[in-house]
């Protein structure tokens, strides 16, 4: 009896440590190699005296259709601050509005199919006073999305930046 118990315990321990190993390696894989559910990209389109047009791309990297809330994101327009902007390492203040909208309804979420993208081109000079120099843009807003239940919103902190000379 005693021997059997010991064997069982050893087996249990093995199973446990294997599970722990799986958990750790999975955790590492998640944080290190897995692509984020929503990807983001910024690209300079045109630069002129009045316009500094940046194209923002949001991509659904998951295998599922997502419902994404455009509120406060680049894919809605200049209704909120979603960028950190600096010119020659000095912070440039956002001059646009910030809209308050309460709680979103189902209709406020828009379908973003698997691997599909939204693109939006916005003129930075509409809301930032930018002359010339070394310009850095960092997307800082989060995007709210759901798979089904809008009462269980998930947040994707987008990670994209752009550094250009203008």
């Amino acid at each position: 009896m005693f021997r059997l118990n010991k064997k069982l315990n050893t087996q249990k321990r093995k199973v446990l440590s294997f599970a722990l190993f799986l958990f750790i390696s999975n955790g590492c894989a998640n944080s290190m190699t897995q692509t984020p559910p929503l990807g983001c990209n910024m690209q300079l389109v045109t630069a002129s005296a009045n316009a500094l047009n940046i194209e923002f791309t949001l991509t659904n990297n998951t295998d599922k259709t997502l419902k994404v809330l455009p509120w406060g994101t680049a894919w809605e327009g200049w209704f909120n601050r979603f960028l950190d902007v600096s010119l020659n390492k000095e912070k440039v203040e956002y001059q646009g509005p910030m809209m308050k909208r309460g709680s979103p309804n189902v209709a406020d979420f828009k379908i973003l199919a698997t691997k599909a993208s939204w693109k939006a081109t916005l003129n930075l000079r509409d809301v930032y006073a930018i002359n010339s120099g070394d310009l850095t843009l960092q997307y800082k807003g989060a995007v709210t999305y759901v798979e089904n239940d809008i009462n269980a919103p998930q947040l994707a902190f987008l990670d994209c930046a752009l550094n250009i000379q203008i």
Partner: protein, 351 residues
């Protein structure tokens, strides 16, 4: 002699005929002869086609939500009162800018005047519709028939609110407790009263938040803080406390400018670089005074956005969004405007 007299008679008949051919007549009426400072002044404007053919009236001069001209002459003690509304600069009118009124047909519109004219001083006001525009009224052949429309005046006794135009311009220099509100964008009396109550209510929940956050040792692990700002850390607590101190300070000591011109479905908006002007939109007027997504909470939310107050962002929306943010990223929750609003509203109540 006789001939001359006849000619004169004919001429005067002709003149009488022209005078009778009024085209469109305009009449004003009010529901009451006097209003208190808490009431709005609504005027009915009725246009009647007195001709036997359809006539066209330029819609720019019809009082509606979108009117961008001064349509009225408002006088007190013989002095013309200031018009606060919009003046549009436009190209020549097109045919779609006219409405057609059938023979003997009347069309009526209502317009609220306390938001448009300076009715701030107690007294008897003399109000007249008076518009002058080159092609104001046209006949069916698009020929201008009349360029001037004037109604008989109506008289209304108005109890003043004590905010003349001079007071409004001076308001930005005054630093009084809460009362320092200037209004722009044609706020009606009802709207001004609502905004004043909303600011009082905002002041009360800001004070409550400040006192809660002042008791760090008693409250740091309590549900109210944890729900909206996540796990306690002393530096994050400090940030939130400083934010609410700044919000309270803004309410207590800074002159606010509240604007009522927004007709969109949002609650409100601000330009974070332009303190302390807040634009209120449709959803705000339908919100409860206190509680979740309330008028009071909206003011907390908006003030928190100003760079020199707390410089918050809109990261997550609604109570479920804000709760999820507090769970997953307390660092972001303390930068989120809705998190501040829900913490201040504290509905349902938590310790």
């Amino acid at each position: 002699m006789k001939t001359i007299k006849l000619t004169t008679l004919a001429a005067s008949l002709l003149i009488a005929n022209v005078a009778l051919a009024k085209g469109i007549e305009v009449d004003l009426s009010t529901a009451s002869q006097s209003i208190t400072a808490k009431e709005d002044l609504t005027i009915s404007v009725t246009f009647t086609n007195t001709e036997s053919e359809p006539l066209k009236l330029l819609s720019w001069y019809i009082p509606t939500q979108d009117t961008k001209e001064a349509l009225f002459k408002v006088k007190k003690d013989g002095y013309k009162q200031m018009y606060f509304g919009a003046h549009a600069k436009r190209a020549a009118p097109q045919s779609e800018d006219y409405i057609e009124i059938q023979p003997n047909e009347s069309v009526s519109y209502e317009v609220e005047l306390t938001g448009l004219y300076d009715l701030s001083v107690t007294g008897n006001y003399n109000i007249q519709y008076a518009v002058n525009y080159a092609s104001l009224v046209q006949d069916s052949n698009n020929q201008t028939m009349k360029s001037r429309l004037v109604s008989k005046p109506v008289n209304v006794w108005v109890e003043g609110r004590g905010e003349s135009f001079d007071d409004r311009t001076a308001a930005s220099d005054i630093t009084t407790q809460i009362q320092g509100i200037s209004y722009t964008g044609s706020c009606s009396n009802t709207e001004k009263n609502t905004l004043s109550s909303a600011l009082q209510a905002a002041s009360s929940i800001a004070n409550n938040s400040v006192s809660y956050l002042g008791n760090e040792f008693g409250n740091r692990y309590n549900a109210r803080y944890d729900t909206w700002f996540g796990n306690y850390s002393s530096s994050r607590w400090n940030t939130v406390r400083n934010n609410f101190n700044a919000i309270k300070n803004a309410i207590d000591t800074k002159g606010m400018t509240f604007d009522c011109s927004c007709n969109q479905s949002y609650f409100a908006y601000v330009y974070p670089s332009q303190p302390y002007k807040v634009y209120f939109c449709n959803a705000f007027w339908n919100a409860p005074l206190t509680g979740t997504d309330s008028k009071a909470g909206t003011i907390i939310h908006e003030l928190s956005h100003f760079n020199i107050v707390a410089g918050t962002d809109d990261i997550a929306y609604g109570q479920s969004g804000a709760k999820s943010l507090a769970n997953s990223s307390p660092y972001s929750a303390i930068q989120n405007a809705d998190s501040h609003e829900y913490f201040a509203e504290n509905t349902p109540y938590q310790n």
